[in-house]
Symmetry: C2
Subunit: 343 residues, 2 copies
């Protein structure tokens, strides 16, 4: 589709958001600094991209952290690792041409010169560009692949989702409902409860901050929970685990409710629940599943065109809104997918 890309206000310099201190827990605005540098030139095999939407994702907490993780920590003083929706300005890489829209690891900055392996997805679907950073971003594709590969809800199953109105959960609820599951959303305020019901296809939604979660879950899912898609960990997880049906599946996709893992927090032991309920509890990280990424985008775009899935972008404007974006995610302030439009 023809796309109207706003001009940059500073087209000749590369503004960057640098990680300047190693956060303990969730990165705060003070862990970052704005800087400017020259626009990098692409080496042979690289392409120069101009970012349009920067992404803020819960996974950035892990990338900024020095704790052992599934990826190396972002170097201090370097631009913050981030996903972005971008357009190719100049290509010296095979398979990419000037004008192509791409989604990948381009960092919190105006421009990046990257090799093709930084690209997660070449945007060929006829979706709005903000959808390319949401429905077709790691959050939408995570929702789709983790639910269909690990959660595997079938018709009539009860599917519970935490951070149900969030950037991943909002898609999990809709995809689960489209697969015939009865979906119950857990979220932290009443506006999001309403959004779960009105926009994201949940049959029921519970405000875990004000409700007696165990009692309300029991009332909403008297036969037990067949699939729990968990983005929070912590006490919400503990409560839902104890209401799983036999042979239920738990998908661990995030641990947003746990403020810090140093030192390791404690909680009730869960191994007996796994044993006696014969659960399957699996961890999902999207970067293990890149071979399935493009096919997932094809399916998600088709669902969007058919009207079975909707997305909601929470867009702020200007690169200077990036440093506070991760902390906002963890405080539950956003609804839908947090994007920062470069201006």
């Amino acid at each position: 589709m023809p796309r109207d890309i706003p001009a940059l206000s500073h087209p000749s310099r590369n503004r960057q958001v640098l990680l300047t201190s190693r956060p303990a827990g969730v990165p705060q605005p003070g862990d970052f600094a704005l800087a400017e540098s020259d626009i990098p030139r692409p080496d042979p095999g690289q392409m120069l991209v101009r970012n349009i939407y920067l992404s803020a994702d819960p996974a950035q907490r892990g990338w900024a952290s020095a704790e052992a993780n599934y990826s190396a920590p972002v170097p201090l003083g370097g631009p913050m690792r981030a996903l972005a929706v971008a357009q190719v300005v100049e290509s010296r890489a095979e398979g990419f041409e000037r004008g192509d829209f791409v989604y990948g690891f381009f960092g919190w900055q105006d421009y990046a010169s990257v090799a093709p392996d930084a690209v997660l997805h070449r945007i060929v679907e006829d979706v709005p560009l903000d959808a390319a950073g949401s429905l077709l971003g790691i959050n939408g594709v995570t929702a789709y692949l983790a639910l269909t590969k690990l959660g595997r809800p079938t018709v009539g199953d009860t599917l519970v989702v935490s951070t149900a109105a969030g950037s991943v959960g909002s898609f999990v609820g809709q995809i689960g409902a489209s697969l015939g599951a009865r979906t119950i959303g857990l979220t932290g305020d009443d506006d999001k409860v309403r959004r779960c019901i009105d926009s994201y296809g949940y049959a029921a939604a519970i405000n875990y901050k004000t409700a007696d979660l165990a009692a309300e879950l029991k009332a909403s899912a008297p036969g037990g929970v067949n699939v729990y898609y968990d983005n929070t960990g912590g006490t919400i997880l503990d409560t839902v685990l104890r209401q799983m049906a036999v042979a239920g599946r738990v998908v661990q996709c995030g641990t947003a409710s746990v403020a810090s893992w140093m030192p390791t927090p404690t909680g009730p032991r869960n191994e007996r629940e796994i044993l006696t309920r014969r659960l399957v509890w699996s961890g999902f990280v999207i970067f293990d599943h890149m071979a399935d990424y493009d096919a997932a985008c094809t399916d998600l775009a088709a669902m969007w065109r058919a009207g079975t899935i909707t997305y909601h972008s929470d867009i702020s404007y200007g690169i200077d809104t990036a440093p506070g974006a991760i902390a906002a995610l963890y405080s539950g302030a956003n609804t839908g997918k947090k994007l920062i439009q470069i201006t």
Copy 2:
């Protein structure tokens, strides 16, 4: 094979071990009482069996408990639920004949009149009768099915097993080694460490009571643990989880190290390990897999005939040794499978 069955010392009465109090935690000898009753007559559709070997199994803790579980609690004042190897004395049930050897839920008693659904396995394999309550008992079949269905070790994988010399673990080690895994046994005394190496095919074994488990495991499995077959739960589980390789599988088959679940004990939160290591942690209860029981026995008997698997029975003599048998299991006093021979 022709079998020589010793005569009973009290052939005309049915001695029973009754559950007389509801244990808090592991059943102790004082929770049981010996009694005598008439030999029950089989109704139409039933068979009368005479027990030869009574089985003592860790699962009996759960059956005796009032805690929610995968089976209803044993009624107070009734014979203790137990598996046994028996011979059919009189059959009014289709498909069973006098003289057949059977393994099933016949209780801690001399005789039982039962319907065919109490029989887990009709013993057609040419194995010694004590092997029918061990290699082909729920412990051997659990080891085989849980490892091959959930653990799925492949050639070169590192497989760690807790209670490695126990009634389940001793088979897991041997089956894992036969599948090409490098097996590491965790056990609680040096004699069992030796038995792991000498008899059960473990490449390495660690006494978790005297060793620095984390350090020794790191030394034995520098590339991480691909499969952890856990029979203990608790701190041993916590330690191994933190040394799992990416995409590792954890099979929860028991929680023998946790003395009581009321109230729920606490431990370090494990959800971040599941997520960042992309583990699959599954619970296994043999009674979900009865359709595969006979085929597993065929395979296990073939492995025994081929000399790739050995078994070790820890036999006590006389029904009066039953009441202390479960507590002995949990104290780690036995080696191999605990059986009580009726005399």
